[in-house]
């Protein structure tokens, strides 16, 4: 077990050395998580309205200018990052948990249970996510909790499909068959044997699903259906920026770039992890 761990760490190192953009992406992720945690160190209050300094261009005092209410834009972007990352990570936790649960149960038990769960997956995935998520969100009070819930509750289908496929192949392996034949309880077999085996799939799926959740949140907030004022996320900041595009184009730059780099970096992280956990694809296929 330990040797396996060491081998993976070795693999990770060589992968990072070979793949420079992946190493940069990783660095960026550490940085962005770090600064959004320590956003409170900023000298500005993200919600403090300052009518004297409305829509200031980037300058020495306000590195990225101020918005239409005179709030420091960089500070707001850092707090916004917090919101975007929290949404991304929590929604990922919800969606991958459901996905892994449904996938393993479906793959392990097969038969009617499998049929029922997979048809449910088919039905939910046939409703375009944008429509589904917005429709459900009108039944909830809009805000941070609602958006995490709707994204988490309706994006687990692809994870479930992947985990199911993985479970189907794992459950035929000898050690699992052995565990079953010695009369271990189903819960124990799933927990001890199936879940660890689908872990790699789960890890890769989770980074990608953080990226997707961040993109979804930004789109919803941009449409005004997500995060509500005074709280802001990168998406809702861009909604503001759009109405000021003519006179304050700089407002569109920072949140946009932050979304792009964060999503890109999470996807890259997924690529690296995939290469580390699945030795077969490391050849660059």
């Amino acid at each position: 077990m330990n040797g396996e761990k060491n081998r993976r760490i070795e693999k990770l190192k060589t992968e990072l050395k070979r793949n420079k953009s992946a190493a940069l992406a990783l660095l960026f992720l550490f940085l962005i998580i770090f600064v959004s945690i320590f956003a409170f160190l900023s000298p500005y209050d993200p919600n403090k309205v300052d009518v004297l300094n409305v829509l200031q261009k980037p300058n020495a005092q306000h590195l990225f200018g101020t918005d239409e209410l005179g709030r420091d834009y960089l500070t707001r972007a850092l707090y916004g990052g917090r919101v975007s990352l929290i949404v991304g990570i929590l929604a990922m936790l919800i969606s991958t948990s459901i996905g892994v649960l449904v996938g393993t149960v479906s793959g392990y038990f097969g038969g009617r249970i499998d049929n029922f769960l997979m048809r449910t997956v088919d039905i939910i995935s046939s409703i375009p996510w944008m429509i589904l998520v917005t429709v459900v969100s009108i039944y909830l009070t809009p805000g941070l909790k609602a958006i995490i819930l709707v994204i988490g509750l309706f994006t687990w289908m692809s994870t479930a499909r992947m985990v199911r496929a993985e479970t189907l192949s794992v459950k035929e392996r000898e050690y699992v068959l052995y565990a079953k034949s010695t009369g271990q309880s189903i819960r124990k077999v799933i927990w001890k044997h199936i879940i660890p085996a689908v872990m790699p799939t789960f890890i890769v799926a989770s980074t990608v699903s953080i990226a997707n959740a961040i993109l979804m949140e930004s789109a919803l907030s941009f449409l005004g259906l997500g995060i509500q004022q005074p709280l802001s996320s990168w998406g809702s900041m861009l909604q503001n920026a759009q109405s000021n595009l003519g006179n304050a184009p700089y407002m569109a730059i920072l949140p946009g770039l932050l979304i792009v780099f964060t999503v890109y970096s999470f996807n890259k992280l997924g690529d690296i992890l995939r290469a580390v956990v699945e030795p077969k694809t490391s050849g660059g296929k």
């Binding site: 953009s21 048809r119 088919d122 039905i123 995935s125 046939s126 409703i127 375009p128 996510w129 944008m130 429509i131 589904l132 917005t134 429709v135 009108i138 039944y139 990226a211 993109l215 930004s218 789109a219 941009f222 449409l223 005004g224 259906l225 998406g235 861009l238 920026a241 759009q242 595009l245 003519g246 184009p249 569109a252 946009g256 979304i259 792009v260 780099f261 964060t262 999503v263 890109y264 996807n267 890259k268 660059g284 296929k285």
Partner: protein, 318 residues
């Protein structure tokens, strides 16, 4: 083959029914009474009762469901609560607007992606591949509305080349060239946002095909690499693209919603966002039903097409 197609259709029908039940259920859950859409506050109790009876709204829920389905099948989609307009009339204006925006964009994206994906796959690891693959993995991370804002700023505000809002300049509705220049920016955004995933798909599928034995055999017989790519690999890459097209339909809907909103395009997307903001439940459910049926039928059609085109499936059971 016909057995498979029949089976596939039999799978799609219950899905459509379930989707319609979900939509109907959500309308029932919504905090409003369907009759509100057809009444005005100054109508008497009695008139309201009459209208209710006429539309079957005084009957139990399952009867209402049947009336509702019957109405939808005969093109009667109900009325907006906010404007009291007929939804089917609104849709008949809005759907064509969305189609002229989304379909050409998707088509261009598809053609470009196949070309770029083939190049990248065939030149795997070389400069061309690094550029194409690098740009697509970046492209996946770019929110389409942000790309729209950047384009609006550059081409609309700075260069003043293209209009940035709506479908027509007031006064020149019906002019094709006017429509065309209004289409440029939103179509570009949609095309660019559809492309990255398609390119990556075609690329990895090309790489997979190039490592197949039949490619090595062709090499062993001296076929030039361009010939192998176009004569042999291309059709093997294009075949699964049919399925991808079917699966992309949800993406088209999402793309339409976001892009239409940014550009104020009077299509189904803005209609939807407006109805969400106004809690216009009948419209919301109509669009939900419409778009998911579209996805189910789209998937069905692409599966059927696949099995007509692929000789391996076509030959089965004959």
């Amino acid at each position: 083959m016909f057995k498979y197609i029949f089976k596939r259709i039999m799978q799609a029908i219950p899905m459509l029914v379930i989707i319609s039940i979900i939509c109907f259920g959500l309308i029932q859950l919504a905090p409003y009474d369907a009759v509100d859409a057809m009444t005005t506050p100054n109508m008497s109790e009695k008139t309201v009762e009459l209208i209710k009876a006429r539309y079957g709204l005084d009957q139990p829920a399952y009867m209402q469901y049947f009336y509702w389905v019957k109405g939808i099948l005969s093109g009667e989609w109900g009325y907006s609560i906010v404007t009291h307009e007929s939804i089917s009339k609104d849709l008949s204006v809005r759907i064509p607007n969305t189609i002229i925006l989304v379909l050409p964009a998707y088509f261009i994206a598809l053609v470009l992606s196949v070309i770029l994906g083939l190049i990248a796959g065939a030149r795997k690891g070389k400069l061309a591949d690094k550029i194409i693959d690098g740009l697509s993995s970046f492209g996946i991370a770019i929110p389409s509305f942000w790309m729209a804002m950047v384009l609006i700023f550059i081409f609309g505000y700075q260069l003043n080349l293209f209009p940035i809002l709506g479908m027509h300049t007031i006064g020149s509705e019906g002019s094709f060239s006017d429509l065309f220049i209004h289409l440029v920016l939103p179509t570009t955004v949609l095309t660019l946002s559809f492309m990255p995933e398609l390119v990556r798909y075609v690329r990895s599928s090309t790489i997979g095909q190039l490592s197949e034995d039949y490619v090595m055999v062709q090499q062993a017989y001296g076929a030039p690499s361009i010939g192998i790519l176009f004569n042999h690999v291309l059709r093997n890459v294009l075949l699964p693209v049919i399925t991808i097209v079917g699966m992309s339909l949800p993406m088209l809907v999402t793309g339409a919603v976001v892009t239409e909103t940014v550009f104020g395009w009077p299509g189904i997307g803005t209609y939807f966002v407006k109805s969400i903001q106004g809690f216009d439940y009948p419209i919301i459910m109509a669009i939900m039903l419409l778009s998911s049926s579209l996805v189910i039928i789209g998937n069905l059609l692409s599966d059927i097409l696949y099995c007509i085109v692929d000789p391996r499936i076509k030959g089965m059971g004959e």
